[in-house]
Assembly symmetry: C2
Homo-oligomer: 269 residues x 2
Amino acid sequence: MIQEVSGLLENIITSKDNPVIKLYQKLNSSKKDRFQYGLFVLEGLRIVQDALNESADITHLIITENSAGKYPELFQADLRDTKIIVISNELGNRISATTTTQGVFAICRIPQPIKPVFTDNGKYIVLYGLQDPGNVGMIIRTADALGIDGVIMSGTCDLYSPKVIRSTMGSVFRINIYVENDMESLFSMLTGNNVMTSAGVIDGETLLTDCTFTGKQAVFVGNEGNGLPAEVSRRCNRRITIPMNGNINSLNVAMASGILMWEMQRSKD
Amino acid sequence: MIQEVSGLLENIITSKDNPVIKLYQKLNSSKKDRFQYGLFVLEGLRIVQDALNESADITHLIITENSAGKYPELFQADLRDTKIIVISNELGNRISATTTTQGVFAICRIPQPIKPVFTDNGKYIVLYGLQDPGNVGMIIRTADALGIDGVIMSGTCDLYSPKVIRSTMGSVFRINIYVENDMESLFSMLTGNNVMTSAGVIDGETLLTDCTFTGKQAVFVGNEGNGLPAEVSRRCNRRITIPMNGNINSLNVAMASGILMWEMQRSKD
């Protein structure tokens, strides 16, 4: 594959009007375009490497002239279905979302939505209405680290936005993530699969320290500013609260989710 | 006090060479200046309000022309020892670290370092070599929310940098924070007070799920990239690990600290 890159070096793309570059930029900035094309973008050695390791469906690997020889590990993956293009360093700087780019980019196919599998003792986190990409990414990353069985997103910011993808640190390729934006469908899916639902709220009737999480369990967490809508919280089987000191705003939603997921996983022991 | 502000409106400061403005900017950008003057800065309604509520020692309250009449709640605090100055909106934009400023700023005295009090059942978190202000702020905020008895910082980024202060969301005024940059002094302080020490590491001999935290306990967490130095980890009474799935980099240090603090606090029940 290294030789293949050498060949590509003779055909370096420099024009910002190149159709792949134009596509990359569209996907980078527009949720609508990501949805329409069924594609999203990656930037950075680590995340592209993660995508390759997890056999993500990469349509284009885009690499700058300077970086083409620098990361031979990239070309050890199976790239038969991937088009590799080399671009000028200048063009790399142009399409990069960072100030100092590593010069490694990819276009990736959005996986077909697969209904989550609710295993016997499965633990799930439901992100309801979260809007901060950093929080969503951090929760996905933590869910992966703690071995949570699935993340369900409902009415949140776009999973495939570059900011969310970046902050998952590759976990987006390792954990089951399912998007269901309709509240009715969400609850019938959970109820139909005998999943017990808990709303993470600030004034629940049960303290987290008094909870057990046996069997199939899903914990809902809500929007950064407003928490869970009362309607959603009411429909859950119980409302649970992390005991907190004084100021109710002190736990950010990613941190609260981390503690809730940790407690769910402890129940597996 | 509102009348006092009306008076000040007749004397709006517009010059960037005003000594208070120059001091504010120095403190905003330089750790050395913060140390030398024993002062640090705050920006934003919420954090200034928190500082006032917690009786922080505010030397100057700086407010823009537009904001002077907008937040009467600020002037309900005891401001006898605080100099209030009104500045032009333009000057407010100039000194602000945000793109859309609320026009509320303060200069605050750094509290005298007080030796931490190690209470009988006290739980402490030791931040060793952390460099990301967002992580440090998030940990302080979480420690406050979970009711941790104290945060000890050693070789970390400056507690009084505007980024750390901002990300603590006011917790910096509510929780005991102590800085001890010398490793020997740190360990003799802990050992001398019969505090059991645990190092949070990725390959410890004890899983967090098998730990108890009775009595006085301090958990060490380390630098974002390198973790705890082996020397520090070895000197702790035990090395504990959060059980993790696959990728060892998945838990960020703030999240790991949150889970460790949560477990310490559960031991209090």
